[in-house]
């Protein structure tokens, strides 16, 4: 066996938060990686994955201490001096962090940040040589050359992550650590970024430690997997072996919670009742004030969307970020007259509804927003936050407590939480509280914006189960906005796929998953990671991302990125670019593509 690249033995990490006592985050981890190997590190939140990674990188936050041994190519890292460690970071160890707006310095051009690391580790490198090397790196990770001059806030999340990868591989490290590199990204972008990471790894021959909570990602991209729980590695095995014959109960639990988009949903489909929400030809535009490059104008977020949600039905709205999903929901639940198009809620046309009608509708149409951390007033207890809508609805005071407890019970929370404050709750509990707050007024129509985004696999699984139960028990009519296709498969009766502000395909959930018709839907499904190492690795058929553009697409909104483009002759391509495809309905399915008749591509 060759010398290990990374050899972690009996590593302990403790955080000594004063007064509140010591937190023992990593409790004796043993881990070995061979050169060039791809090791997946999985586990729920709080399992100690991030603490382990920080310790290996010597980036433990203030108050963190580590004991034990971490050897990198034979060099002991525990107790290594600051200067020696700095010299090792970059050419030896490099890291790609989870995407966030502030992962890159906001006040320096992204190219300059790559030049900085190149020149730091190779003092002989001239500025011009460093620049041209940066251009090469950007080309390698698939960034357009203009991005070198951009600032972090001017590029999309996927592009920022590519810059992050360019930064990490700039000095050809022997060990690349990626800490949840794609958790904040769409599936299509995720597939692209992971491919870039894989390509970059192969180009430099580096080992890759891929930290993630997504078992689909692990199944698609790693050789070996280590499962962490409560600060320990509970199981290590080859990826196929682990998925097919897990030995530890923790691994089994984790695998069982992993959402699989291939499982059809069980249970009855309700008979569609009368329409509860009707959206016709809705357009939403956002004003753009002196944005990047001082272009002024407007962004067309929603471009002629029509949707119908019938009583007792769950409609999912899916699509990449920037597709306009949230804009649709915001416009509808503002309950204000739309500027263009029509919205009817429970039979009332919002364009002509008076104040009293809108007020009444407010109690019947409820929205659970995406960021539930910000959605709860930090100074209001759970009980008063959930009770507040009851006061607005003029429910007598003595009935309120029972209603609040009932609503909390419905989302699986005990009455003990009534007096708790939002910061005392976990992410999953906060989301449940937000749902309880919406349910307490007994709404007819409930909209959920990204209900499971950012949650741990097992927490998300629990929440999805809860939502499925609520759907069945209360007969709720739901509009679910998400880019998580496994969640869609579990919850929705029908799915509408959005790209570039338009709906391109609408069908029943099983029909859509089993035989996607629109090229974008196919691309979306092909990019979903599946927790099965034998399944084909997710691919990004649609590359690129939709960026905010002031101009409205003339023809098909996918024209520039369509996977079918290569198969088309010039004449057909021109038609895609110039003529907007209309929605065509056939047998419970609606598709907007000029070439639907030609059947799926082979």
């Amino acid at each position: 066996m060759p010398d290990p690249l990374l050899d972690v033995r009996d590593l302990h990490v403790r955080f000594g938060a004063h007064r509140s006592g010591e937190v023992h985050a990593v409790r004796g981890v043993d881990l070995r990686m061979a050169p060039g190997e791809v090791l997946g590190l999985v586990g729920g939140s709080g399992a100690g994955k991030s603490a382990l990674v920080s310790a290996v990188l010597g980036l433990l936050p203030h108050g963190g201490t580590m004991t034990g041994s971490v050897r990198f190519e034979g060099t002991e890292l525990v107790g290594l001096g600051d200067r020696a460690f700095s010299a090792l970071r970059g050419p030896g160890l490099a890291v790609v962090f989870q995407d966030s707006l502030s992962v890159l310095d906001p006040v320096q051009r992204v190219g300059a940040q790559v030049v900085e690391v190149l020149r730091l580790h190779d003092r002989a490198l001239s500025r011009a040589a460093a620049r041209s090397r940066t251009d090469e790196l950007f080309a390698l990770v698939g960034l357009p050359s203009g991005v070198v001059q951009a600032f972090a806030h001017e590029v999309s999340g996927g592009m920022r992550q590519r810059v992050g990868i360019a930064l990490a591989i700039a000095c050809s490290p022997r060990l690349l650590i990626a800490d949840e590199p794609t958790s904040a990204l769409d599936v299509t972008v995720q597939a692209q970024v992971l491919d870039v990471l894989d390509r970059a790894r192969q180009a430099s021959g580096a080992g890759l430690l891929l930290v993630t909570h997504d078992l689909g990602v692990v199944a698609g991209w790693t050789d070996r997997v280590a499962v962490m729980h409560a600060g320990r590695v509970v199981e290590q095995a080859g990826v196929t072996e682990l998925f097919e014959a897990p030995r530890e109960p923790r691994t089994v639990t984790l695998l069982r919670a992993a959402p699989d988009p291939r499982t059809p949903r069980h249970g009855r489909r309700p008979d569609p009742g009368e329409p509860v929400l009707e959206v016709t030809d809705l357009r939403v535009t956002h004003r753009l004030d002196a944005g990047p490059r001082r272009r002024r104008g407007q962004v067309v977020a929603v471009d002629g969307v029509s949707l119908t949600v019938r009583r007792g039905e769950v409609l999912a709205l899916v699509g990449e970020s920037g597709a306009g999903k949230t804009s649709v929901v915001e416009q509808v639940f503002a309950l204000s007259p739309p500027r263009e198009g029509g919205v009817r809620v429970l039979g009332h046309d919002l364009t002509s509804a008076d104040r009293a009608t809108r007020r009444r509708l407010r109690g019947q149409a409820q929205l659970v927003v995406q960021d539930t951390t910000d959605a709860l007033d930090p100074r209001m207890s759970v009980g008063s936050a959930v009770a507040e809508p009851l006061a607005v609805a003029r429910v007598p005071r003595r009935e309120r407590r029972a209603r609040v407890v009932g609503a909390l019970e419905a989302v699986g929370l005990g009455p003990g939480l009534v007096g708790a404050y939002p910061h005392e709750l976990s992410g999953g509990e906060r989301r449940r509280v937000a749902i309880a707050r919406a349910l307490v007024v007994r709404p007819t129509l409930l909209a959920l914006d990204e209900p499971v985004a950012g949650l741990d696999v097992s927490v998300a699984a629990g929440l999805l189960g809860l939502l499925a139960d609520l759907r069945d028990d209360l007969g709720l009519t739901c509009l679910v906005v998400t880019h998580d296709l496994a969640a869609v498969r579990r919850l929705a009766d029908r799915v509408a796929v959005m790209v570039g502000g338009r709906v391109v395909e609408e069908a029943s959930t099983d029909a859509l998953f089993d035989s996607p018709a629109h090229p974008y839907t196919r691309a979306l499904l092909a990019a979903v990671p599946v927790p099965d190492p034998r399944a084909p690795r997710p691919v990004a058929l649609v590359t690129g991302e939709r960026l905010w553009t002031a101009a409205r697409a003339e023809g098909c909104c996918l024209a520039d990125r369509c996977p079918l483009l290569a198969e088309r002759d010039d004449e057909r391509e021109r038609r895609c670019r110039e003529v907007e495809p209309g929605l065509v309905s056939r047998a419970d399915r609606t598709v907007a593509c000029h070439w639907w008749d030609l059947g799926p591509s082979r």
Binding site: D82, S86, V103, D105, V117, A290
Partner: protein
Amino acid sequence: MVRYLGRRLLQAVPVFFGATLLIYFMVFALPGDPVLALGGDRGISDALAAQLREQYNLDKPFIVQYLLYLQGILTGDFGTTFAGRPVGELIASAFPVTFQLALMALAFEAILGIGAGLVAGLRKGKLFDATVLVVSLLVIAVPTFVIGFVLQFVVGVRWGWLPVTVGSNVSFTSLLMPAMVLGAVSFAYVLRLTRTSVAENLSADFVRTATAKGLSRRRVVNVHVLRNSLIPVITFLGADLGALMGGAIVTEGIFNIHGVGGTLFAAIRQGHAPTVVSFTTILVIVYILANLLVDLLYAALDPRIRYDD
């Protein structure tokens, strides 16, 4: 950028007229008759009073007085004081001293405040940080005149290191102590602002990225932390320049500096509108320019901010 500058400068024009009109009116509306007050206890003859009123346009209606004053300003004549001294001369003697004092105070609070704030932010929770926080709290809590008199007595009288008063001897050394007193309170604020900002940026994701790139601590701090931390501090310093110039009255009193504060105070007591209005208007213009400078610096430091033109 040029358009933005032009628009901002154009905005200053209505501010100039508005400020002069408002201040002129406030002086006009002050109770008491400035001419009678000139006579003091001995009184003044009716003939002389009438002559003075005519000479200083005090017999005319408010709006005429104001327009005559404006006319004077536009032709370079700021009027004369009751003592017969041209106001222009007062401006020329008072403003340079005060301006020098304010700039020295600004430099003092910027250099020491940012320096100490940076060190405190980097060593949050350590001894240096705690000491500096207590000292800054003391400085904020103790009134300026107390700090002024104590420094004057200890440094000037007891130890004899620096001149006790300024008077007509305006120099860097003589203004050093007054500048420190004037900048003391703002120094404490700059320090606390920098400290908080640095401590916050130290735990930002991009600083972690910079460390992971293999940058030395010194480079991480100098290149990535400092520039990001200075953005709020610069805003404070710019707004402070105007306050330092107009608010130096106590310090000028303690150290006998013939600057803007003292002159303005005297003119208000005399009800001499041309002096009050001219001085205040210049302060307003300084304020506008300082703010413009801050906005430009702001965008230079932070690319996320764009001029709205």
